[in-house]
Symmetry: C2
Subunit: 588 residues, 2 copies
């Protein structure tokens, strides 16, 4: 029993708790944070040639700065997506050393521009890259489908021998005893891990701020958040310091940063991708299942990620996973419509009826829908949301079943202060209560009831829904909806999770893609708007058009449980039909 | 929200508990039980022609009695399996009315011989059968793949308008507001529900005794148990009062009665078959997932059951289910070996090293293994059990996370006495404690650690297990093992769950099949045996060869999670290679 899942550890335990008063940390938390930042800076300083300095006075939008500071070759390399780089790496047209070093340099710059890195791994990454270059030269073939490709990793996904702190000062200094299962698969496929990225205190913010590293900001507008909790990934990918990265999501943590930074992100259905070897609080909790998933500068990158992992049959090592691969071209959905030339039926969720999206979000939806509306093979209908406020009550009541004791211990153990959004989601969150077994069961039943009701509503989108279900061929395929109630908000203001946590509760796969950028000239505030509730009022007041200038506005496509392939295929069809993203400022 | 899962109700709640002292039941429990039995007897009396009386003095083995008391036509019909009856029903060669009535008559006899019925449904069943006969005559085709076939149902799987008591006196009188999802699918496929069968108090015995109906006994030897908790199904099927039935299993409750009665039973992997609409305590509990599955007089019957349910895409209505059908002929396992003529590799678990199986069980294993050992295409190896005692600690610590408060309330609410095996599994079970959220998480982690370790051991059965897992082609396919530590024990003595609960913990699919019958002339006791522990001593002392005379001895075949198709296909191959069952006294 000594090796299996040994790195999936509760970060604290009641025994540790009871020891806390007499075992205060030896160092003040500020000193621990200073050491963490010094270590980070040393790893960046180790990249050669030295990473150029950036201007003292940075503009709000820093996305163009790397193009002024890197070499033409580096820009050529880092401007490419995973699917563009891989054949060149596999053929030797590009060496892995050159590619990895170019991304290391750009990642170092991204750190200076947005504070998105916890450490770079130049020594490990370049030595691995050199090995792979040798391997290709010697064997005449790549080592695997990701041969030589640099991949960035959110910090709490463990790498053997490296720190694993999950955003808590108290955990800084804990060393991973083994590399996470998913990273082992990527490594075996030829990937090179070059950068580790920031995450927030608790991992439960839709932003990225911790006392170890401070705040990660949005490269399109540094006054705005990069989103979170996989926010370091979002900012790094937008600045092209990586082309493919790994995040985690229990309430929006892949999709928020993908959306805020104008890149692609997929929250797969639970139990498809392996999670053994990450570090998080509340180990053993099962009421809401967290997932790992990819963020990428291209849609194709997400699919490459999924196929490589699933081709390795991770369920043989991690028995909680469902044992089937990526069902390429099999069907969009379970009815094989492609072979029958069935229409793609898209339902549009304009507004969840709890918090009204800001004008840029509604414009993005409008532009996409108007372009799709009369296209051959595509049907557009409206989606009527069903009690998304109840959905939040349920999911929020099941996030911290221990009353957030574990989270609180991890924060308090070092004496570090609570970040504003930690207070928001724990201290000020009326749903956070310690459950008894019985109350856990009660909320679990509410969760299942809600899921069943949503399934029933989805079934009813078929015109003849009273017929045996297997014969329904015009059921809605996917829901098109916002990623959040606005584009990236100002720091510490991401306080409505509903547009993403909804799909965690339902365990639906969801992919995020860029559409437009916020434009204060077009996206005027609705001055006469009467708010529906406190959350809606907060969000409405947040919208000052000028403050959101340049912010990417992304959308979310959602399918039913385990229809991960379908949601990806549907987005490919949509992108093949209309020319997304519409804004030239967004990466692709 | 008003309809979905509304019949999955916790049978009690803390609110009800607190009311108990002032709301004692209006009637003594004995009166409630008497009414239940009178109702049962009335439904049996409604079957025409009257069911013959059985001798006052019954022999221990009553399996031959129905052949003396039923008509030749009834014996001809009820002697057939599901796959033999279905084409005749579909073509009209046999009418559904004739078939249903024959099985009603034989089920009534089975009740008189073993006490396995809670009620027969002659009016509903015959009126449905007449409708189906008309349908066939009018339309010239059957209504569905189960057209006209009678199916028996364990009582706690709800049928609209009928009592739903789950074995508790206090629940007698509660009426199901809708029919369970799985029964709806069977009904739509043309099945006719003709009999409801007994289950024990708490549903958590490997026997079948309740204060509502008393004890169900084994038709091969009435001094022995029929097993449980789906024990009514086991006895009814063995007596051919049904050819296909439905049970449920969280620790062996399908496999124990299938094994004890010499019929087939499948515990599918969790989340394959729908469970909405059954009644059980501890609704909302997820630490160990209970499943529904078929019991059948034939192996083919199990497969018919699985394919009919999965063809209806139950995941569209019940979103906790995994969305894939029965993968017919796809592969045994994930390597497509059949197309490559790979060998079937069977690992034999002779003994779990906690409780040594009785001599008849070891003989059954020996006979099967010796016949298979040198057959073309079959490889036999030994399976080394890994800490099955720890496995019991984990699963038993996760069965009653509320400290069995819910079970206790349901028993105590009526004043009915605790059955001996209710005391065994709750009162006298040191693992039963009320968990905190934190201790629930701790045990959940232990569960996952154990599952991962077992997966690793399974992977290591491949000769080159250090290679990438996807290339391993000589991994063990299935484990062959006992169903229990002996054949059916005397009443109230089924006190070791390890041979079945092991696979619930691991969530492996497991199919049970008959092999031999216990024979005191051959299966001598091991007089010099030195027991390993208290459980082993209890089991060893239980073995008196003469007491087990005629008891069916069955075996269990187990595959990895979600390899339900593989375990069935492997058993088909085994049966195609050697002529099972070896004992002519066993049904087929």
């Amino acid at each position: 029993m000594e090796t299996v899942r040994s790195t999936i550890t509760a970060v604290t335990s009641p025994v540790v708790d009871s020891l806390l008063p007499s075992s205060r940390p030896a160092k003040p938390w500020q000193e621990v944070a200073k050491e963490a930042q010094e270590h980070r800076d040393q790893t960046i300083a180790a990249v050669q040639p030295d990473i150029p300095n950036v201007p003292d006075e940075l503009p709000l939008n820093v996305t163009a700065i790397p193009t002024q500071l890197l070499t033409a070759e580096e820009l050529e390399i880092t401007g490419q997506t995973a699917e563009q780089l891989l054949p060149k790496l596999a053929s030797g047209k590009l060496s892995s050393v050159a590619v990895v070093n170019a991304f290391l340099r750009r990642a170092g710059l991204a750190q200076k521009l947005t504070n998105c890195i916890t450490e770079l791994l130049p020594h490990r990454a370049l030595s691995r890259a050199a090995y792979l270059d040798d391997y290709l030269a010697t064997h005449g073939r790549p080592i695997g489908p990701l041969h030589g490709l640099p991949i960035s990793v959110k910090e709490h996904i463990g790498i053997r021998g490296l720190d694993l702190n999950a955003g808590f000062v108290s955990c800084r200094g804990e060393i991973a005893s083994q590399t996470a299962h998913i990273l082992q698969i990527l490594h075996n496929a030829g990937a090179v891990f070059h950068a580790r990225t920031t995450e927030p205190q608790t991992l439960m913010h839709l932003e990225t701020s911790s006392n170890l590293y401070g705040e990660t900001v949005n490269p399109f507008n540094r006054a705005l958040t990069c989103g979170g909790s996989s926010g370091g990934e979002g900012a790094l990918l937008a600045l092209k310091g990586s082309c493919l990265g790994i995040g985690t999501d229990i309430g929006g943590s892949i999709r928020s940063p993908a959306g805020n930074n104008g890149v692609y992100g997929l929250r797969p259905t639970s139990f498809r991708l392996p999670i053994d070897g990450w570090k998080a609080t509340m180990a053993g909790a099962e009421a809401i299942i967290p997932v790992i998933g990819p963020l990428s500068r291209s849609l194709e990158g997400l699919k490459i990620f999924m196929t490589v992992i699933l081709d390795a049959k991770p369920w043989l090592k991690e028995p909680s996973l469902v044992p089937f691969g990526w069902r390429e071209g099999l069907q969009v959905g379970w009815f094989g419509w492609r072979s029958e030339k069935r229409r793609l039926k898209i339902a549009v969720l304009w507004d969840d009826e709890v918090v009204k999206p800001h004008p840029p979000v509604t414009r993005a939806l409008n532009e996409v829908v108007e372009k799709l509306r009369h296209k051959e093979g595509i049907t557009i209908v409206d989606w009527k949301p069903f009690k998304h406020d109840l959905a939040w009550d349920v999911v929020a009541s099941l996030y911290f079943c221990d009353g957030a004791a574990d989270e609180s211990s991890c924060i308090n153990a070092s004496g570090e202060p609570w970040r504003p959004l930690s207070n928001f989601i724990i201290t000020d969150n009326a749903h956070v209560k310690e459950h008894t077994i019985f109350s856990l069961w009660e909320w679990t039943i509410k969760r299942e009831e809600y899921k069943s009701k949503y399934a029933e509503l989805w079934n009813q989108t078929a015109s003849n829904y009273k017929a045996p279900l297997e014969s329904l061929r015009d059921m809605v395929d996917v829901i098109l909806c916002p990623v959040g109630p606005g584009a990236a908000p100002p720091l510490d203001c991401a306080r409505y999770w509903g547009y993403t946590s909804q799909w965690n509760l339902l365990d639906y796969p969801a992919v995020v893609f860029p559409a437009i950028q916020a434009d204060p000239e077009i996206d005027k505030a609705d001055e006469g708007y009467i708010s529906r509730n406190e959350q809606d009022e907060y969000n409405h007041k947040l919208y000052e058009p000028e403050e959101y200038r340049d912010a990417p506005v992304s959308l979310q496509l959602v399918a039913r449980r385990y229809e991960d392939e379908k949601v990806m295929e549907a987005l490919e069809i949509i992108r093949g039909t209309i020319d997304l993203p519409f804004s030239k400022g967004l990466s692709d």
